[in-house]
């Protein structure tokens, strides 16, 4: 693959490295060198995720890391729905809120322990999110996105107006994790499980059906499959990830209030996804782990941080629409050099 540069004298030549097989995703491996060539980036990703909590300075940054993990899970869930199923669902804040309120309320009112509230909040929250979104499924593209985006505001208003769950006060205290280490590693492990689980799922036959729904839903209907049902499966899977993040936030911060429905949880995953590389699964996680600490560093600037998000978003959309991970993958698989023409 050679890309023509505007000058006539020289052009950038791109050569595939030997291992890169003829078709995307299919490799013919013949030696340990080649195995490690393929495994290194994946193993590196896992190892770095595990090492991060050890190397960051102090408790404060560990907490930042855990919060970045929450955004990473949301970004992953957004990426899966948008890029693998074709459902643009900007409902991160809703998943966080529903998951958080369920596990928080169970802990606050019924004194259930954390290891019970998290699974109940995850499974039950995902069920509620999915059931509430099902009526919106006939909407397509941006219309579905807008409606899902409105759900958190709606719920927030209901909670405040009805003074439910202590209204503006919120539920506090919620029992936290025994220590920050457990919290951070819990979320790291969940991120890895989600990435590899989702990738495996997309490789299975149902993942192919998801891709079909994204490509051409009429043809899926003509294949005798109820597309709405397939979308419900996908929504439930994505909501599981989002609601787990919600229960995590509730216990991690020891507080459940309407701030769980903050718009950040809906918007930041999209920025992370675009920055990291849409459709790559690991990319959005990478994006979240860059954006969240960056936004902490710039906390001093107050609301100006939003300007930074926007600059990052616009910059990536304009100059690197493929995202960081796709760019890095290309660099890893291809040798580039200038040749004279």
């Amino acid at each position: 693959m050679a890309k023509q540069i505007s000058t006539f004298e020289r052009r950038k030549e791109r050569l595939d490295r030997g291992i890169k097989a003829r078709t995307e995703g299919l490799y013919a491996i013949s030696s340990w060198r080649e195995v490690s060539y393929l495994l290194a980036p994946r193993a590196g990703f896992i190892i770095i995720l595990f090492l991060l909590p050890l190397v960051v300075p102090g408790l404060y940054w560990q907490r930042v890391l855990a919060l970045a993990g929450v955004y990473a899970l949301l970004a992953l869930s957004f990426d899966f729905l948008a890029e693998r199923v074709g459902l643009v669902c900007i409902g991160g804040a809703f998943m966080i809120g529903v998951g958080g309120y369920i596990s928080g309320a169970l802990n606050y009112y019924l004194m259930l322990p954390v290891f019970l509230t998290i699974p109940i909040g995850t499974l039950g929250g995902a069920l509620i999110c999915t059931l509430l979104w099902v009526p919106c499924l006939p909407l397509r593209g941006i219309y579905f996105a807008v409606v899902t985006f409105m759900f958190p505001f709606l719920t927030q208003s209901i909670i405040l107006a009805g003074n439910l769950f202590e209204g503006t006060e919120g539920l506090s205290p919620i029992k936290g994790f025994p220590n920050t280490w457990i919290a951070v590693y819990l979320i790291v492990i969940l991120i890895l499980l989600s990435i590899f689980g989702l990738r495996r799922l997309c490789g299975e036959d149902i993942g192919v059906v998801f891709a079909g729904v994204k490509d051409n839903d009429q043809a899926v209907f003509a294949s005798g499959i109820n597309v709405t049902r397939v979308k419900i499966y996908a929504l439930y899977i994505a909501s599981l990830i989002g609601c787990f993040a919600g229960t995590f936030v509730a216990h991690f911060s020891g507080f459940v209030g309407v701030s769980l429905f903050a718009v950040d949880f809906s918007i930041m995953p999209i920025a992370a996804c675009i920055m990291g590389g849409p459709g790559t699964m690991a990319g959005p996680v990478l994006g979240a782990f860059i954006l969240a600490p960056l936004s902490e560093l710039l906390r001093g600037f107050g609301q100006l941080r939003v300007v930074l998000y926007c600059l990052v978003l616009v910059g990536f959309i304009l100059f690197k629409p493929e995202g960081l991970l796709s760019w890095a993958t290309r660099k890893y698989h291809q040798i580039e050099h200038w040749v004279k023409v």
Binding site: T23, D205, V209, A211, D215, Q218, F221, S223, I225, N226
Partner: protein
């Protein structure tokens, strides 16, 4: 093949209009099991609307469609496909981001295909590649492994047929499978249609390519302005004065 053939599809008084245009006006016909049934007519005569109403993609205003005494009208389109009444699209609808054989994983995943899946039910990839070979994808040339976006139209039309076949259909409604193909591509498509017929699949073919259609069709109806103009064996229909005037002009030589 039994001696007494039953009507597998009964269309009764179908009507559908889009705004002021009567796309279908009181259309009725019977379709016998194992038959190849042609639907012809000038552009805009309601052929594709007929296909869409039978397969549930468009709801008719009045009239009914029966499949083996099951009323299809009112059923959602995926249920109709689930019963074994499948269709191809005139404008092909492949899953462009997927490899050709992965395109067939979607219909093979459907509950109808799973009901029919035998011992090889788990290995959908292999079944898909066999199906593609059946409709003329050369396995030796790795055509089944190509991305659907890299396939020429001839293969995409075959892919449409393969998607129907994956559902073990009883009826396939082909919406202009020959259109947009070169003469040689059409020539290689005709034996495929013949082969489907010998397997006992009932075929409805909406076509503009009369010569090829008449070489395979048992019976033909002619549509014009949403109405059924004539019905019968191809030769008989061609003699019909109304048909000549409305559709084929005054003189026709085949």
């Amino acid at each position: 093949m039994g001696e007494q053939k039953e009507a597998i599809i009964k269309v009764r008084n179908l009507s559908k209009s889009f705004g002021g245009v009567k796309a279908l006006n009181n259309v009725s016909f019977d379709l016998l099991e194992g038959e190849v049934f042609g639907i012809i007519g000038p552009n805009g005569s309601g052929k594709t609307t007929l296909v869409n109403t039978i397969t549930g993609f468009v709801k008719p205003e009045s009239g009914e469609v029966f499949f083996k005494n099951i009323k299809l009208t009112g059923l959602p389109h995926y249920k109709i496909a689930d019963l074994g009444v499948t269709r191809t699209f005139q404008v092909v609808r492949p899953f462009l981001s997927l490899r050709s054989f992965k395109n067939l994983i979607v219909p093979l995943w459907s509950s109808r295909a799973r009901r029919f899946a035998g011992s090889r039910g788990g290995d959908r990839d292999a079944v898909a590649i066999d199906l593609l070979e059946e409709v003329g994808f050369e396995r030796d040339a790795y055509v089944p492994y190509k991305l659907a976006s890299a396939l020429p139209l001839g293969y995409l039309k075959r892919l449409e047929l393969a998607r129907c076949l994956a559902l073990r259909p009883e009826v396939i409604i082909c919406d202009e499978v020959f259109s947009g193909l070169s003469m040689s591509e059409i020539a290689s498509m005709v034996p495929l249609i013949e082969r489907l017929r010998t397997r006992g699949v009932t075929l409805i073919m909406v076509e503009h390519r009369l010569r090829e259609l008449f070489s395979v069709a048992d019976k033909v109806i002619v549509m014009n302005f949403g109405e059924k103009l004539a019905e019968g064996v191809p030769e008989q229909v061609m003699q019909d004065e109304k048909v000549r005037r409305a559709y084929l002009g005054e003189e026709i030589k085949l």
